[in-house]
Subunit: 186 residues, 2 copies
DNA sequence: CTTCTAATGCAACACAAAGTTGCAATGGAT
DNA sequence: ATCCATTGCAACTTTGTGTTGCATTAGAAG
């Protein structure tokens, strides 16, 4: 039987490289990383990287996509308001962390990432909207027209403030967003 | 009297260069422009650019700041709702244009721009909030707690969808944001 | 009109980082 | 034990940033 051709050392090295990319991005806080740095951190020769990833951009892109597959846990506190607050706070964690900021800025510059955005965010919103649908089933609130849209509108101000306006994203600010969503549900 | 030392050809050339930077950014849709391109477009030698702007980053930064000083007209239709709609539509124009997208993505990568963000957006929101305060004075609506914050919350979903989520920003979507703001005022 | 000087042009350079190439070394499968 | 794909290594090309020395030129002042 053909046992997976050509992956003798390959697979593990791939992961080491992509992991190193994320590490370097996290450490430097920017996507403008050097391939040599990645090679050093991964403990791998530069040539090996270029054999697997044709260009630096593709290397970074692949690492980001791999990272994006990380599953976000969906909270279930029993209370809709608490679930939404938990989601909003997780979003704040991401958009204020150096790695998160770097990754989010990526979609602006990469046309390839731009194509994947709708699907990516659609999936995220759908998952988060699950807490709303759960509350609807338990009779905690009335069924909204478009749960995913409500989530989008809740997190939008958090993203906007983090990426553009600047200034702190306080607990009060987060509660304001949760309140607005709760109001739309009652 | 000392007649402005050292600006014989200087001033006009500065503007030609900065204008060329914007042109190249607009044409390429990215901030990753080449100094040689700018020199060619401006009809100026590369050395001249480097004499006025120490680094490429500073060149781009200066051009962006100059561009940012562009005054946005504040609408006055007589109706608060129409004013807000006009503002929201102007925001959509900016965030969906290649130049606007490129400029907005800048703040993510430049620490210097990051410092200026709060002041910049504060000013923009204050100007836009004027339409609310005008409506308050005319008795069209009740006085809100923080008009600038309301504007921020109105435009946040537009920015978020343009920069991250992707997908179209329809008139319906814009009206939804205006409606939400109007509801907060009544 | 002449002169003086700062601003510009020009060409050659140093440097950094991306990406390439040919060959040697090596580790795992059979 | 053998084989071959994977990796390491070193030298190279290319592109773009930023610098330097010197020649030109535009314009201000006399």
């Amino acid at each position: 039987m053909a046992t997976e051709p050509s992956h003798r050392r390959g697979k593990a090295v791939d992961e080491k490289i992509l992991g190193a990319v994320i590490d370097v991005i996290e450490a430097s806080g920017t996507l403008a990383i050097k391939v040599d740095q990645v090679a050093a951190v991964a403990g791998v020769n530069k040539t090996t990287i270029y054999r697997k990833f044709p260009t630096r951009d593709e290397l970074v892109l692949t690492a980001i996509l791999a990272q994006a597959e990380t599953v976000i846990p969906i909270p279930d506190t029993g209370s809709l308001r608490d679930d939404l607050t938990a989601i909003a706070r997780m979003v704040r964690e991401v958009v204020t962390s150096p790695l998160g900021r770097a990754l989010l800025s990526a979609s602006a510059e990469s046309p390839q990432l731009a194509e994947l955005r709708p699907e990516y965010w659609g999936a995220r919103f759908a998952v988060a909207a699950e807490v709303i649908e759960r509350a609807v089933r338990s009779g905690e609130c009335k069924p909204p027209e478009d749960p995913a849209l409500l989530i989008e509108l809740m997190v939008a101000p958090i993203h906007f403030r983090a990426s553009q306006v600047g200034g702190e994203i306080t607990d009060t600010f987060i509660e304001l967003q949760v309140d607005r969503l709760m109001q739309a549900l009652t």
